[in-house]
């Protein structure tokens, strides 16, 4: 119980910190925000109206409290460019980013885990050096460039997939699947490499433990030890990596959506920065950061459910 209380209070504290960081950064806008948003040729009256609209004449603490209170009521402010509530603008974009993220996570898990387990069973010196370099390459490739390479190979040369262009799920299920495949793969590639490295290291570490020697002594086959004992113990660190990958997937989709022209959050984020739609940018950054925190929090709670030995700071006893 103490574990859950500690983790929950830390979660809330971190949430508050995140919102403060975001609010503070947007307070630092050099010069008059209304002037920056409207550009140099705006007249006095326009600037004063926007200042009023943004509530700039009120003190910062009051605006922060208003903002957070609004967030809790589902009111994220108003987009300047779309002249619509931010939540409405986001509602169109979230399904695209979520589909991309889920698709990419599935690819990572379906490819990364079996491959990682398979590779962990090979223990040769040269194989491990070779693998470490290949996976390191997977981590080092810029995901957006890998996206270019996928377009070049699959769309330009082989013509299997559309170059870009977005098809909603409701319109054409298989068309959407095809449209999401290359961008998801581009995001997944570095995560797959991370999963393989991590899984291999964890399994090799676990294999050195006493319980594995005991199991070997009582005559269990290597396969049985791996699947029945080692993988169970390797699951805790794997959970950590899933939390990390979720964050990386969301981060990766910011760039990849712009490569493949998918109308998701990342695409909207960059457009809003170009058009100086600061209320929209501010809420979007908060939204993405909160998702990451919530997922990490859920991972923390799952730890304890899976392994009651875990102490409040997360290390195994």
């Amino acid at each position: 119980m103490r574990y859950y209380l500690y983790k929950t209070s830390m979660f809330i504290l971190t949430l508050v910190m995140v919102s403060l960081i975001i609010f503070f950064v947007f307070q630092l806008l050099p010069g008059n925000p209304a002037q920056i948003i409207l550009g140099l040729d705006a007249d006095e009256q326009q600037i004063r109206n926007l200042e009023q609209e943004l509530g700039l004449e009120r003190p910062a603490t009051e605006r922060y409290i208003d903002w957070i209170a609004g967030v809790f009521q589902g009111n994220l402010g108003e987009s300047l460019r779309y002249q619509l509530p931010v939540s409405e603008v986001l509602a169109d974009r979230i399904p695209v980013t979520m589909s991309l993220a889920v698709f990419s996570m599935l690819l990572t898990i379906l490819v990364g885990f079996p491959l990682g387990i398979l590779i962990a069973r090979t223990d040769g010196k040269f194989i491990s050096v070779f693998l470490s370099m290949i996976t390191q390459l997977g981590i080092s490739i810029p995901s957006f460039w890998f996206g270019f390479m996928l377009i070049l190979l699959f769309s330009v040369i082989l013509k299997w997939f559309p170059t870009f262009g977005y098809v909603p799920w409701s319109e054409d299920f298989f068309g959407a699947l095809r449209a999401y495949f290359l961008p998801s793969l581009a995001i997944a590639i570095s995560n797959i490499a991370v999963v393989i490295r991590y899984l291999r290291n964890t399994i090799l570490d676990q294999k050195k433990m006493d319980y594995v020697r005991t199991a070997t002594c009582k005559g269990l086959s290597e396969r049985a030890i791996l699947y029945r004992h080692v993988l169970r113990n390797a699951f805790i660190p794997v959970l950590t990596i899933i939390g990390l990958i979720t964050a990386d997937t969301l981060g990766g989709s910011i760039i990849i959506e712009n490569v493949f022209a998918l109308p998701g959050l990342g695409n909207l984020l960059i457009q809003s920065i170009t058009s100086r739609d600061f209320p929209l940018v501010q809420s979007m950054v908060l939204y993405i950061a909160v998702i990451v925190l919530v997922i990490n929090f859920m991972v923390d709670l799952l730890y304890k459910l899976i392994d009651p030995r875990i102490s409040k700071r997360g290390e195994q006893l």
Binding site: T14, M17, F126, L137, I141, F148, M149, L152, L250
Partner: protein, 269 residues
């Protein structure tokens, strides 16, 4: 250390040395003037005259890639310096003093880590505008958490060692202990993180510049070259392939270096 395990380290080292010498050469010599436009020679395929071909303005890609190494090394070095100095202060305070200060600082670090990928840098640049200086500041801030964490854990580890306790017993101040006793022992994990964060910054810069939020013209940038190359992916695929490979080699070089350093460190321990 056996031979097979050294291979990745030396491979990484040689990548870095090749790119480093490319940077030094580019300070004095490039085959062509990197910004010289040649309208009659647009998107030329790689040849003896232009080993990497030319871009959509007829500019020599090799010369531009060479000049781009300057930006990459500048960004990598400065962001590591920013991340290390601020991360050191935060991590040392958290690890050495512990208690509520540690808790508070770590939640701050957690909060920074809640911004996935380059989101933190994107947010900062949205507010302070794109350009070389702001890219460096944003990526420097983004690399603080990794340094703060590793420095904090070294401090927690060494604080409990007898030689540190003896020094405290003799009446040494916190400042003396931090700099004279703990810091020298923390150097090798710091080197590992520095190398990793160097490559991370270069990767992040290429992404930011690709989005148009990073380094702006006339400063050269590989990420922006990729942005310019994208429309010609069908007609001039080598342009995209070459520039992306260079970024990958640079990032891979520093990642392998960091991996090798970690191996050496583990073996010592």
């Amino acid at each position: 250390m056996n031979k097979a395990n050294r291979l990745p380290f030396y491979l990484g080292l040689s990548f870095v040395i090749v790119l480093l010498s490319m940077m030094f050469i580019s300070l004095f010599y490039t085959p062509y003037e990197p910004n010289a436009i040649d309208p009659n020679n647009r998107l030329a395929t790689p040849s003896l005259a232009h080993p990497f071909g030319t871009d959509n303005f007829g500019r020599d890609i090799l010369s531009r890639v060479m000049v781009g190494t300057q930006t990459a090394f500048l960004i990598g070095t400065t962001t590591v310096m920013i991340g290390l100095s601020i991360g050191f202060i935060l991590g040392a305070c958290a690890g050495y003093f512990g208690g509520w200060l540690d808790e508070l600082l770590m939640r701050f670090i957690d909060a920074m880590l809640a911004f996935p990928g380059i989101l933190l840098a994107i947010m900062l640049i949205a507010v302070f505008e794109a350009g070389m200086k702001n890219t460096i500041i944003a990526l420097g801030i983004m690399s603080i958490p990794a340094f703060a964490r590793v420095i904090r854990s070294s401090f927690i580890q060494y604080k409990s060692y007898d030689f540190v306790k003896a020094s405290i017993a003799k009446g040494a101040g916190a400042f003396h202990i931090i700099l004279k006793h703990i810091f020298p022992n923390a150097i090798s994990p710091i080197l590992v993180v520095s190398s990793l964060s160097f490559s991370g910054s270069i990767l992040a810069e290429s992404g930011l510049s690709y989005l148009g939020l990073g380094v702006q013209p006339p400063d050269p940038s590989w990420g922006r070259m990729l942005k310019e190359a994208q429309p010609y992916i069908e007609s001039a695929p080598w342009y995209v392939i070459i520039v992306g490979s260079i970024i990958t080699i640079m990032v891979l070089g520093f990642n392998l270096l960091s991996d090798g350093l970690r191996d050496i460190q583990d073996r010592k321990a």
